[in-house]
Subunit: 192 residues, 2 copies
């Protein structure tokens, strides 16, 4: 089977909002303004920014991603969590049950959410075509080797296959920095 | 040969100062006040704190480590570098030639240093006794596997042997977070 070299994309801190929280933070009838399409089909960076208010510090200017979602979810690094003064779990995106609370502040108001703050578990998005070509299955756990000065092998990388995806690995800023990922970098996917 | 499990210690951002810079920042005749001994013999955390002034942001309250050194050296994470708005090289501690400039501010004054700002290359300090027992050599490059939810294998870990050392691996906060290192964690040292 051919070896897959996967594009590694770094997710900066960001959040997804419900319609209700969007209106609380940005005002009644507020909508998200598409600033730039992201690599995953249908996902986009918006003009909207929110402050995260932690018990220790505030992080300003956190980008909202669109479209709206059924649950508000905030993805930050463990470095951010320490700065805010909160403890957060590492979880797969979409799995907000039991995650950490946080206060959000927008130009029109604030909202204190009881859960939704996570560090995203590193993962690979994959198209069904690539999964078939390279012999991977949805939910498979793989490792990914990054070369270079800060070369490392990420273990416990969950692979998710969907026709809604483009093939790419997502890591957070701590992970990107630990691996020296800067610019366009590919990782070698290793079967366990 | 027996397998070595090495204690992984996380180095938060910190700096080492020359006598001259210590006096510029803290006043004529200033001395470092020992707050707590560190794991490496003779090294200590001091009461003294300095601000790092970058073109984009300032990071306050960065701890000075003692004793004084012949070159001023500031060790930060790549996350910190991005916050400050600077680009820094990954270098071995002590190798400040060609590293980045930064402005330091203390209670008595400021100093703009032309080099000394680095991200520390991850490394293992090792006693000659452990090097002999486990079969390692000074300057050997090894890998270190960390288990757990964010399990990974750090490649390109430089091993330094000296009778001045205690055996421990040092990583920065980005690396610790990427590996989910929290509390007392040991890594398995792998020969290349």
């Amino acid at each position: 089977m051919e070896e897959l070299k996967v594009l590694i994309e770094t997710s900066s801190r960001h959040l997804h909002l419900t319609k209700e929280h969007l209106e609380t933070l940005f005002g009644k009838g507020a909508v998200l303004h598409n600033k730039r399409e992201l690599s995953q089909p249908g996902q986009f960076l918006t003009e909207e920014k929110v402050a995260l208010i932690g018990p220790k510090r505030t992080i300003e200017g956190v980008s909202v991603l669109g479209p709206e979602r059924k649950d508000t979810q905030i993805e930050i690094s463990l470095t951010d969590a320490r700065n805010l003064g909160v403890t957060i779990p590492v979880k797969e995106s979409g799995d907000v049950a039991g995650s950490a609370p946080i206060k959000l502040k927008g130009p029109a108001g604030e909202v204190e959410i009881s859960q939704g703050l996570i560090a995203a578990k590193r993962h690979i998005h994959m198209t069904p075509e690539d999964a078939e070509k390279y012999g991977f299955k949805d939910k498979e756990i793989v490792s990914v080797e990054v070369e270079g000065e800060r070369s490392l092998v990420f273990n416990n990388v969950v692979l998710r296959v969907s026709e809604k995806f483009a093939t790419a690995m997502h890591v957070d800023t701590d992970e990107a920095n630990a691996a020296g990922v800067c610019g366009t970098v590919y990782g070698r996917v290793i079967r366990r």
